[in-house]
């Protein structure tokens, strides 16, 4: 009982393992599944669990940002793309076997190198004391916001001159990224529209008809006859003499 009690003190560690397993497991899901829609769904779950890892690392703001912008925005865009193109034969496209063998060899070796590096450096794997109090105290939403607007509140006391005045914030990159986003999205929207008529239906497609219908309506001038009449209707034949009584 005691052993378990000790193990559980580090709930941080247990959640880490949970989220890491999800992230890597669904990553494999993305890799192995043939159906492109399933791949998209696994990717959503994998990125969701990485957001969980960010929360565990104390980066709350980035975690929420990842959930909202990355998963809620980018992947929705991706799924829209999947929906529009995943028709008939493009859903299940399996890769050829020799690609698989080559990819696993290269991937595996790269992974080994990286893992060795990760665990090699002694400084990185020093265990820390992770009690609850520690987690609570790291509130960075406000300093993060301020840092983006140029005032580095958290490095006020450092010795370096520029840093001392807390002026080494991220105002410049912040502005550049916003302008960059604007330009990119406008470009993407412009590029995404098709230039030519939809080939499948030539001029019978609905938009072409709509266009022609509108043109006809303007050209054909509707002569409005006024229908104001006084007397009652009766057969035209039994009126003998004058036209109107």
């Amino acid at each position: 009982m005691n052993l378990l009690a000790v193990a559980w003190e580090y709930w941080h560690q247990s959640f880490f393992i949970l989220f890491a397993a999800c992230a890597i497991g669904f990553g494999f899901g993305v890799l192995l599944s043939k159906n492109v829609v399933r791949m998209a769904f696994y990717l959503v779950l994998s990125l969701g669990s990485t957001a969980g890892l960010f929360f565990l690392a104390g980066a709350e703001f980035v975690g929420a940002m990842q959930l909202m912008i990355y998963v809620g925005g980018t992947l929705v865009l991706l799924i829209f793309g999947v929906m529009l193109t995943a028709q008939k034969d493009f859903i299940n496209m399996d890769t050829h076997t020799q690609d698989w063998i080559l990819a696993t060899i290269v991937g595996g070796s790269l992974l080994m190198v990286l893992l060795f590096a990760a665990f090699g450096a002694e400084d990185w794997s020093k265990p820390q004391d992770l009690t609850d109090a520690k987690i609570e105290s790291t509130k960075e939403a406000t300093p993060l916001g301020l840092a983006l607007t140029g005032i580095r509140v958290d490095t006020l006391g450092d010795s370096g001159d520029a840093v001392k005045q807390g002026k080494s914030g991220y105002l410049m990159p912040f502005i550049i990224v916003s302008v960059h986003l604007l330009v990119v999205l406008i470009g993407a929207a412009y590029m995404a529209r098709t230039k030519k008529l939809s080939r499948a239906t030539d001029d019978k497609s609905s938009r072409a008809k709509l266009m022609l219908f509108k043109m006809e309506q303007e050209t054909e001038q509707l002569e409005e006859e006024t229908y104001v009449v006084t007397h009652r209707g009766q057969s035209a034949l039994n009126r003998t003499d004058s036209q109107d009584e």
Partner: protein, 176 residues
């Protein structure tokens, strides 16, 4: 007879195209030959004092007595009558046009008699003529898409014909 302004105009314009004008009937009607029907309709639609711009209904009446006794008593021989009820919104006048056509095209059973279509004159005639073709079996020449409107497309026979026999079954469903 010819003192009625409309009839006078029609006579001058179409001569013997206008066969006769019946004034004693409850709704006076003018009988017209099929050949001259479309011009008459166009004229009636544009004529200054009349302007029959709405075609209320197109009906086909089948004159045929199936049992010989009654057939003998009647003075007309079997024929079809296509009746056009017109009315004018502008002048609030009404008119009935009639066209007499043989029951089958030059006597051959199964060939539908033909009447030129007035769908170009009034757009509403499009559906009325399709219904007349569907129920009474009259082939309207020049109709944009003449196919059955009320009965299923593969139905044989025209129900409103006097000599119409209900088919025994339709797609396996017993009718009688």
């Amino acid at each position: 007879m010819s003192d009625i302004p409309l009839v006078a105009e029609l006579r001058t314009k179409f001569g013997e195209g206008i066969i006769d004008v019946n004034l004693e009937a409850i709704d006076e009607w003018v009988e017209v030959t099929p050949q001259v029907l479309v011009e008459v309709c166009q004229f009636l639609k544009q004529a200054e004092g009349f302007r029959f711009d709405m075609c209320n209904s197109i009906t086909v009446v089948d004159y045929l007595h199936t049992d010989p006794k009654k057939a003998a008593k009647v003075d007309w021989d079997p024929h079809l009558e296509v009746v056009y009820h017109l009315s004018s919104i502008a002048t609030k006048l009404t008119l009935v046009l009639k066209v007499k056509i043989p029951r089958w095209k030059n006597g051959v059973e199964g060939d539908l008699p033909t009447v030129p279509s007035v769908a170009q004159v009034w757009a509403t005639a499009d559906w009325h003529e399709r219904e007349a073709y569907d129920l009474s079996g009259v082939n309207f020449l020049g109709h944009p898409n003449l196919k059955r409107i009320l009965c299923p497309d593969d139905w044989e026979g025209h129900p409103l014909r006097k000599d119409y026999e209900m088919p025994m079954e339709y797609h396996g469903i017993r009718n009688r």
